[in-house]
């Protein structure tokens, strides 16, 4: 089966882009957390759970919700497989939870987010996606990694879409990139799921 990348999103401290085009800018030069909050208020409907999430989960929620809002993806399905990764695991929350222990005030709401796969869980809950998923820690954004996960999850050929995301939040410097992989059809042949095209769109984000 030939696979194609049918859309992609990127988010860093300054811009949210879809298919390489800027769709939202940090024009007020806000901190990362405030920028994420502004995107949430502007582009996602009411979802109070957003405020208690860690950065990984907020970013995952923003990116996936964007595709739902734009009707690229639908809610309530078991047909999507989610492949999420980053390099630093949940380091930001780990440090915050460690500090809460040292202050004799261990926070259960922080501890839960010290598991990096919680960001996938948050996305599944918001969108009622009950399919397969995995969270891995990898040195860098890498075609071979995503390709292998798709090969493994495609064994039973039950997934319509692979939602692939790299969300690295290192010292408040965000590098997030989400791309959608589907079986190719005449409509979406423009961007095959290949090392060359993936690295190309990731580097030009």
């Amino acid at each position: 089966m030939e696979l194609a990348i049918t859309t992609y999103l990127s988010l860093d401290n300054s811009t949210l882009k879809k298919d390489g085009e800027v769709i939202f800018e940090n024009s007020e030069n806000e901190t990362l957390l405030n920028f994420l909050k502004t995107i949430y208020k502007t582009r996602i409907g009411e979802y109070p759970k957003f405020h208690k999430m860690d950065v990984l989960s907020k970013v995952a929620t923003i990116l996936c919700s964007e595709l739902v809002e734009q009707k690229v993806l639908t809610q309530n399905t078991d047909q999507y497989a989610m492949i999420f990764a980053n390099a630093i695991s949940s380091k930001t929350v780990d440090k915050a939870f460690q500090a809460s222990i040292e202050n004799s005030n261990a926070s259960p709401s922080l501890f839960v987010y010290t598991l990096p796969n919680i960001c996938v869980g948050e996305v599944t809950i918001k969108n009622k996606w009950t399919g397969d998923s995995i969270f891995c820690i990898q040195e860098k954004f890498d075609f071979d990694f995503f390709n292998e996960q798709i090969i493994s999850m495609n064994i039973q050929q039950e997934n319509s879409h692979y939602i692939c995301a790299w969300i690295n939040d290192d010292n408040e410097k965000l590098d997030a990139f989400l791309f959608l992989v589907e079986a190719s059809s005449e409509k979406n042949l423009t961007l095959p799921f290949s090392k060359e095209s993936l690295i190309n769109i990731y580097n030009s984000k």
Binding site: K91, A106, F111, N117, G121, T130, I155
Partner: protein
């Protein structure tokens, strides 16, 4: 294509080697001991390896076993997949160390040149790792895979589960009506996966199916209906092309929290698996997090090889709303096919099925 599981290995406070562990727990020996934890300010059961055993040392020990058994050349072959399953990866200094930093330094010291795929998927990481390795071999992308699951219980982890009120101050009692939460334990476990029967050996078993599904319900509590676990079991059975009647034994997740064990009983009932003998190994080792899926799959493989079922320790009185067949005494019986289940934070459920090939 047949996918063989072999060379099971376990390191825990009970010792080293999978057969050793099976014999120890058959004799009711457990890895858990009451420990006075200063950070928590209380005495609780914990399965601790000697204090000098760090994550890196444990990983070194596990990989050295496979270098000895399988050979460095095979582990470094481009058609061999290395998979590490862990939740916190031994990170203790959050400013200066990282999971990948720890793993890479061990790989370098052992001259392992292949890069590992590191799965950090809460308590299902181990089962997920075995499924990933098996499916990559099934696809033809790889010939072999080595899956290592490991975690060391730090004060960070103890404090985390304590502030969630998930820790039991007594020895945990999976599926029992008096269960009061989990115990935690150190462990490292490995399994080799291959398409080559000669390397796997005559006493290998087959991985016939495995899958994951999300509850999409709550990040730190299981679904009331067991939906994700139910779906994962359905998908794994479909891949293995078996029905519930063909399963001889279920190695359940059985953490001994109120909600987890209840959820499992509901999901299994929905599959009409109430009469299949079932246990939780958690009362022997505690919850070993990233290692649990590999540890418990390995013990299940031992059950198949020996045709012996191990009791679910500390279970006395049915404590779930659905009646399930929790094993109360060790017994000998034919064990040809096993279902291993796991469920974790985030609402993820992973299961796998192993069968004898001869």
């Amino acid at each position: 294509m047949l996918v063989y599981l072999s060379h099971e290995h376990i390191i825990s406070p009970l010792g080293k080697g999978s057969a050793v562990h099976f014999d120890e727990i058959k004799s009711n020996n457990i890895a858990l001991k009451l420990i006075d934890n200063k950070t928590l300010g209380k005495v609780i059961p914990v399965g601790k390896l000697p204090e000098n055993v760090t994550f890196n040392l444990l990983l070194t020990d596990l990989l050295s076993f496979y270098i000895d058994q399988i050979g460095l050349a095979t582990l470094n072959d481009t058609k061999t997949k290395l998979i590490i399953s862990t939740t916190k990866g031994g990170v203790e200094q959050f400013d200066t160390t990282s999971i990948l930093g720890n793993i890479n330094s061990v790989f370098d010291s052992l001259h392992i040149t292949n890069k590992a795929t590191v799965i950090s998927n809460a308590c299902v990481s181990g089962v997920m790792g075995i499924n990933l390795g098996s499916n990559l071999i099934r696809s033809g992308a790889y010939n072999h895979a080595l899956v290592i699951g490991l975690d060391i219980i730090t004060d960070f982890i103890l404090k985390g589960f304590d502030c969630l009120f998930a820790l039991s101050e007594s020895f945990c009692r999976p599926f029992d009506k008096d269960r009061k939460g989990i115990n935690l334990g150190d462990c490292g476990a490995g399994v080799f996966i291959s398409n080559d029967k000669k390397i796997a050996g005559d006493d290998s078993v087959l991985h016939t199916g495995g899958s994951s599904a999300n509850d999409a319900n709550h990040i730190s509590g299981p679904s009331r209906t067991g939906e994700g676990l139910y779906q994962s079991i359905s998908k794994s059975m479909k891949q293995a092309q078996i029905s519930a009647q063909e399963i001889d034994f279920i190695s359940a997740h059985g953490t001994a929290t109120l909600y987890n064990d209840e959820m499992e009983s509901i999901a299994l009932t929905r599959h009409h698996m109430n009469s299949i003998p079932l246990n939780s190994f958690k009362a022997y080792f505690g919850h070993t997090l990233g290692a649990a899926g590999v540890l418990e799959t390995n013990l299940s493989i031992l059950s198949m090889k020996r045709n012996q079922l191990i009791a679910s320790l500390n279970f006395e009185t049915q404590g779930t709303s659905e009646q399930i067949n929790v094993i109360t005494t060790n017994s000998s019986q034919q064990v040809n096919t096993v279902l291993k289940t796991s469920s974790g934070f985030g609402g993820i459920n992973s299961t796998l099925i192993v069968s004898k090939w001869n």
